[in-house]
Symmetry: C2
Subunit: 343 residues, 2 copies
DNA sequence: GCACTTGCTCAAAGCGCTTTGAAGGCAGCG
DNA sequence: CGCTGCCTTCAAAGCGCTTTGAGCAAGTGC
């Protein structure tokens, strides 16, 4: 344990009051005194005890992230890690701590209540929102500042969120393929019920509708986004009487699986069949180069984490600064995996 | 904010002392009183304020994880997320909080010192140890209980760690291939300097040596474990005058890349060329089925997280319970990606 | 009957900080 | 000279909890 305020004060022959004020920038401290205090604090490597401080101020100086993680493994995923990393950067900069709570998914509500009742956090980030997610109302009712990473369709009450424009993003991707004369476009989506998956499908359907193309249920799948899932989707769909000429994948990993499934069938991406992936810019799933491997809808999930955290901190600072929302657009980047529909 | 101990005590017509003791299981409380208190606490949804509690006890009831994450992205990786998830389970069970600090990697030491001086944590998990990692000595010197996920070669002083038997694991994998008459075996490793990478290479070299085979530098690579890295390794090595007949990959992602590189060359895994991967059992990189896709050295990193956390908690509880160490063996599981060397 | 446990409960101090209310010193003013 | 008001500093209370030391009533043994 480090030096305490009292000790520091004693060593300076000052009262704790004055030292505290000097360090916290209160105006009623003599400039000379303040300088002395600052110097001594630095020298003694003084850091105020967070617990004591927050007990006194009533603010935890910490943000909670609750990760339900027993049966559904959907959230403990690569995307999550990068988001957390981004958020953590913002917290660190603001002097906030990040508290992570892993919980069986039937106990998620408890986790929030517990964290709150214990006074361990000032705000919450809600992960992996589903369609009509009841957790939003729950958190609102608890009266704690919170921000959703994503959105939840079907919830009317206002709440703060940061999301990417999934619908527009996938509409554009679909449109792009349509422009290349693709008419049979498959959507390999994330698991049903996740809000992002629904929005992506909407974008996809919207673009199809605008082109006067009836969606084919045989070309739409939703499941957990693994590589084998992509592989099977490719293999099975290409067996259809009227197979797709293009695929849109909800993640890079799925796109990897698609590519394998397709090349195993002797098809070349960008020539025989087209693939567009959603790219969260995860460092170990790179999609760069002069011509990226995959044409992709791209958006940094890490940057999303950074921004979401900053927004939440504003909310914590001033709970009345109203529901804050941000919709990040994605970039459609051209890679080697797309081309005109073969005929 | 929830109910306080004082309020609860008042409502029961008892002193805070008694209520505190009743709740914390001290023996000197009348059984009837305790029951009353328990019931009331439950009803009022009482949760002791963590900050007050830890201020009073001097224990933070929290464990810190510091993630350096600016330039080197090696740690914000999929493996990390699963380890954290496992550790979080153990913490939650023990009533501990998990504090995550993301920091520029030249500031990692500061992060530890700060966390400690502020009294925010009781223990630390050290991630991603490198060969001769100076952080171990640093933490030891700070006098905080800590546990390393992995080990650090070249550090003599004892410290607590949990690791998988990387050396044996890769020696076995290599041996397995040797038994299949492979003589040209490539090692596609993680980045140089990471301790796990060094141990894996040692295991590989050891098996080769035992078989009287001189290692070929052309067959050994180390880099960040991405899919394209695996792809390039496969493509380039197969161009060699004397190409490998088998590959060992340090991660599933790399193995994906290898597979693509090899199949692109028209080679069939398990027949024309063999691949063994290290499988951390990440949920979105599944390698299961009747016959798993890849022959693999398998070990759940999530389980490692669980155990590491438990060990650290023991250490926090009793700092003198000595350096705790655990070496987890991996399983060599037979999949479809290996077979006898072609001749 | 007394001294002495034993069992249960409480008042109060203290953890390290912030913050309120008060006070000392000094200049400016009439 | 005395009063006011400003600048600077401080003592003390309080945040919600644990824990020490004391106290009180009932039970035990002589």
């Amino acid at each position: 344990m480090g030096v305490t305020l009292k000790q520091l004060a004693a060593s300076l022959d000052l009262s704790p009051t004055t030292v505290s004020r000097a360090l916290n920038g209160f105006p009623e401290v003599n400039a000379k005194t303040r300088a002395r205090v600052m110097a001594a604090a630095l020298k003694a490597n003084y850091h105020p005890n967070t617990r004591a401080k927050s007990l006194a101020t009533g603010r935890a100086q910490a943000i909670g992230h609750v990760i339900p993680a027993s049966t559904s493994h959907e959230i403990v995923n690569p995307v999550f890690a990068d988001f957390i990393a981004g958020a953590g950067e913002s917290y660190a900069r603001a002097g906030y701590e990040m508290v992570l709570r892993i919980t069986p998914d039937d106990q998620e509500e408890n986790a929030y209540r517990d964290l709150l009742a214990r006074g361990s956090i000032d705000g919450i980030i809600l992960h992996g929102p589903r369609v009509q997610d009841a957790r939003v109302a729950m958190l609102a009712e608890m009266g704690v500042p919170f921000l959703v990473h994503g959105r939840t369709s079907g919830v009317n009450a206002p709440y703060s969120w940061l999301d990417i424009n999934n619908q527009r993003s996938f509409a554009r991707a679909t449109q792009f393929l349509l422009d290349f004369d693709h008419r049979r476009i498959a959507l390999i989506n994330g698991i049903e019920g996740m809000d992002f998956a629904q929005r992506r499908r909407q974008g996809y359907l919207q673009a199809l509708a605008a082109a006067g193309i009836a969606p084919d249920p045989l070309l739409m799948r939703q499941s957990e986004m693994t590589e084998p899932y992509g592989y099977r989707a490719a293999q099975e769909m290409m067996q259809l009487p009227d197979p797709p000429t293009a695929f849109i994948a909800s993640s890079m990993i799925v796109a990897y699986g698609l590519r394998r499934g397709l090349t195993d069938l002797g098809l070349k991406l960008g020539r025989d069949v087209s693939v567009i992936a959603h790219d969260d810019e995860l460092s170990y799933l790179p999609n760069y180069g002069d011509v990226p491997t995959f044409t992709a809808t791209r958006s940094s999930v890490r940057e999303a984490g950074r921004r979401a955290a900053r927004m939440l901190l504003r909310l914590v600072d001033d709970p009345d600064c109203g529901p804050l929302t941000e919709l990040m657009e994605t970039a459609l980047i051209l890679g080697a995996s797309t081309g005109p529909a073969p005929r």
